[in-house]
């Protein structure tokens, strides 16, 4: 149980906007963490603060036991793949790959070369001329091949097609299994990556809503469906995360149910549906009233 990142009372304000509000967090070593939340929730701000690229308003950050700001010893072990990394104008893709080892001590050129082939990235093209997907692919390649002990990926899949995304997940898992390191993945595509995550942090409007093992979060909610009166009787007294009704039917999302409670529900003629990580997070961060399609 060792922490590679320890954040305490972290607050970040941009003028009158509070991006992060009194956040306290621990990230364990050699675990794949998911940093989830809506746009503007504070995920990117958090990662900028953790990598010393921005300064806290108040609170403390310890990465590898030290303050990461202007700390070469710590930052050399960190790789932050941003969603919007800017490259020097004249840079070609191969310049990015050639210069990466100057900054990342653990760089694996062979691995990078393999990834370039898999993602089909054109080595001789200028970074400015790459499509969004190719740009993301380059980011992914650098992030993976850097083998940095602490690697951050901020929405690394933007523009990547489904095949490329799967390649990324597969390669990430395989390389993580062989070269364990701490990975922090911020994403909107929660269901796609939910099986990769061991620890989940949900940030909403600058505050941490969920900070738990992925396994604990999974299965921590159930949707009870059936005749409205029966459903209401069953869920009475429980916290309802979400409720929908259609005619005489209702669908209510509540917390986890014990096997006995599940049996009770089924006996009452109610249907129980699982709640995916993505649905759970959507409910908790209050998406607008959408009509949910199939479960």
């Amino acid at each position: 149980m060792s922490a590679v990142v320890e954040v305490s009372g972290l607050t970040k304000r941009f003028g009158s906007v509070t991006a992060l509000d009194d956040v306290t967090l621990r990230l364990e070593e050699n675990v794949i963490h998911g940093l989830l939340g809506r746009n503007g929730a504070g995920k990117t701000t958090m990662m900028h603060l953790l990598t010393g690229q921005d300064f806290v308003t108040s609170g403390s950050i310890r990465v590898f036991g030290e303050n990461p700001v202007e700390n070469a010893r710590v930052l050399q072990q960190v790789c932050f793949i941003k969603e919007s990394q800017k490259y020097p104008d004249d840079f070609l893709v191969r310049h990015v790959l050639r210069s990466a080892p100057w900054f990342f001590p653990n760089w694996d050129a062979g691995f990078a070369a393999d990834l370039v082939e898999e993602f089909r990235v054109p080595l001789k093209r200028r970074m400015k001329k790459l499509s969004r997907g190719q740009l993301s692919a380059v980011g992914v390649i650098v992030g993976l091949a850097s083998r940095a002990p602490l690697t951050f990926f901020d929405e690394p899949y933007l523009g990547l097609d489904a095949v490329a995304r799967q390649t990324f997940y597969d390669r990430l898992l395989a390389d993580y299994a062989e070269h364990p390191r701490t990975v922090v993945l911020s994403t909107h595509l929660i269901d796609e990556v939910s099986n990769l995550l061991e620890h989940v942090v949900l940030i909403d409007e600058g505050r941490v809503l969920i900070d738990a093992a992925a396994d604990d979060v999974r299965g921590s909610a159930t949707t009870v469906i059936g005749a409205a009166t029966v459903v209401d009787a069953f869920v009475a007294g429980r916290d309802a995360l979400h409720r929908e009704s259609m005619g005489g039917f209702a669908s209510v999302t509540v917390g986890a149910l014990t096997p006995a409670e599940k049996a009770e529900a089924t006996a009452a003629g109610l249907e129980l549906a699982p709640v995916s990580l993505q649905q759970l997070i959507i409910r908790k961060t209050g998406a607008s009233r959408e009509v949910e399609q199939s479960a």
Binding site: M1, T51, G65, E70, K86, D89, D90, S99, W102
Partner: protein, 254 residues
């Protein structure tokens, strides 16, 4: 509940600085090719103008005209352009370097080393061009671009020193301007220049009010060309320090 600490093997400071220098060198068009192209274009332009002026003058006036061609200030464009190079180099690579886990201090040190290197390169290049200019007696037209009296009346070595010192000055002023731009963007830049203008005017007013122009003039004469240029290293150092202090709290998001 323990805390993991980073492996103690950190690449040496020298390596980290070298990484930043190499980063600047990958921008070859911006920092090397384009500036030289501009310089050569300026040279070509000046040669053309001299040729036109000379041929326009009546033959009996030609010698007199030749003598007066000594003050082409066109080379100053080259030096002012170094501010542009510096600003481009920093505004383009700072974000990238931040994204690649480089500390601001390592970045500024590496950039400073790179700028000193560029200054040396330009000083050497300009000295070579000056030597050619002397050897061809002003490109065959008596023109003085690189051997203009702006750069002093000393020999080649003295002139090379002047080139170096001027390049350093403009590069590091550029660094300070770039730092202000990166940290405070357009607003900061405007505020800086307005403030600078006030400062210079105020300084000038101070000298005028205390009737010190004569004293200033005497100082220039007493110190001599080389001396004055050597003194410019002081504002260069101030600019370099300012650049660092400003960049220290800059963030890569505009």
């Amino acid at each position: 509940m323990t805390t993991v600490t980073a492996p103690t093997v950190t690449p040496a400071l020298g390596n980290r600085i070298l990484a930043v220098v190499r980063l600047h060198l990958t921008n070859r068009w911006t920092v090397i090719y384009l500036p030289w192209l501009i310089m050569l274009a300026i040279l070509a332009l000046n040669v053309a103008i001299w040729a036109i002026v000379l041929s326009a003058a009546a033959p009996e006036n030609r010698e007199e005209v030749r003598q007066n061609l000594g003050y082409s200030g066109a080379a100053s464009y080259m030096f002012v352009y170094m501010i542009v190079i510096a600003v481009q180099a920093i505004s383009v690579t700072f974000r990238f370097a931040q994204g690649y886990s480089v500390t601001r201090r390592d970045y500024y040190l590496g950039t400073s080393v790179a700028f000193v290197g560029f200054s040396v390169m330009f000083a050497v290049g300009l000295s070579i061009l000056a030597a050619i200019e002397e050897a061809t007696d002003g490109w065959g037209l008596g023109g003085k671009l690189f051997t203009s009296t702006v750069f002093g009346e000393g020999d080649g070595l003295a002139r090379a020193f002047v080139f170096l010192v001027l390049a350093l000055f403009f590069f590091f002023v550029g660094a300070a301007v770039a730092a202000i731009w990166v940290r405070w963007r357009a607003f900061g830049l405007t505020a800086f220049f307005v403030g600078l203008a006030f400062l210079l005017v105020g300084f000038g007013a101070l000298i005028a009010l205390t009737d010190s122009w004569v004293a200033v003039g005497e100082w220039f004469v007493a110190t001599g060309f080389l001396g004055v240029y050597a003194w410019s290293l002081v504002p260069t150092a101030i600019a370099a320090l300012t650049g660092y202090l400003v960049l220290r709290r800059a963030t890569p998001q505009g």
